[in-house]
Symmetry: C2
Subunit: 212 residues, 2 copies
């Protein structure tokens, strides 16, 4: 298909498509004449992936570029590929609130307690420490009393995610599945948590089931 | 304390503090002379809250302003206050991928199936539909097979969150607790989910416990 058809199929404007090609996010079309290129279903899917990562996942052009580089270069073992994809979509946190040393200690204790085999250089370790230090800094340090409830929930979600990745198990598509599942899954989790909050609040503070 | 001390106590630069006062995020100090103001512990906590919402939660100045307006004006019932705070921190999604009608139907079915008493105008309903439609658009529609695992996890987290809010139960501080817990809790959940992914991947694809 021509670039105009690609634009109509995906809802992405032609200049934006050209921008993504220049930025290395989208492969160039196949040249059919000196100034005309042809695009296929692979371009349609890739464009939808780019827009999903940006619009739903809130990723920037440069982060999407890194993520897609991971998608396009599968490594050796599945576990390593998953790790590389995860690293690309987890930029190290920029904030460094007071109390980071203590917060890091709490994260390490949590990881040991749960028996999670993660390297302490994982940027999610630092991201978690930043969040806990921030709770502490604004006088809400007792949040740590419920971190194991969060960990239970995350283990449940992670097991479901990995089963889902396993069912999409051509190794080629697996990295894309991990990236999509991680980024869009975050959005699902945040939206659903808010809905579950409404129900939990109704149950706790309103008349009771059926009257909310 | 003077503005310089407030800056040292919080790590926020003096011009930034003045900017937050001008933008209505931080109450002005108490004037002690025509060109000198005095700040107290309330300002320290509020500044840390602002930075936490921005740096950890990724909220913009204008969203933080709305959120703080909700924090500063408690309403009638606890359930309503929680709802208002939640609305302020959940901007409606900007993306509208193809397949939104079908995706909305799936979200409504999920809400009915779980028995959640939420209004369908809740922006999280639309956010969830956008995420599901995006999965569908990139050929990963089978993600819906695990939405109930996500819902189980979210119910667990929401119950823990509401207990935590209940333990911080002076009504004045409750809205702040909800806002902080929702925004920072998202960050905790995302970071922990990544750590749990590493463990789940090690368990599934590596040699077995103790050898990863």
């Amino acid at each position: 298909m021509r670039i105009g058809e690609l634009s109509r199929a995906t809802g992405v404007a032609v200049p934006t498509i050209k921008y993504y090609v220049r930025e290395g996010l989208l492969p160039a079309g196949r040249l059919t004449s000196p100034n005309q290129a042809s695009y296929d279903e692979g371009h349609v899917r890739r464009l939808r992936l780019i827009r999903g990562l940006m619009d739903v996942g809130g990723l920037s052009v440069s982060v999407v570029r890194e993520v897609l580089a991971a998608v396009d270069s599968p490594g050796e073992s599945v576990h390593k590929v998953l790790g590389a994809a995860q690293l690309a979509i987890t930029p190290p946190p920029t904030a460094t609130p007071d109390g980071m040393e203590e917060a890091r200690g709490k994260v390490v204790a949590l990881i040991r307690r749960r028996g999670w085999r993660v390297e302490l250089e994982n940027p999610a370790v630092e991201a978690l420490a930043v969040a806990l230090a921030t709770f502490q800094g604004i006088g809400r340090g007792e949040f740590e009393e419920i971190v194991d409830d969060y960990a239970d929930a995350c283990e449940r979600v992670a097991a479901a995610d990995l089963d889902w990745v396993g069912r999409n198990a051509e190794v080629d598509g697996m990295v894309e599945t991990v990236v999509v599942g991680t980024v869009l899954g975050d959005a699902v989790l945040m939206a659903m948590r808010r809905l579950a909050h409404v129900e939990a609040s109704a149950r706790k503070y309103e008349q009771g089931p059926g009257q909310g």
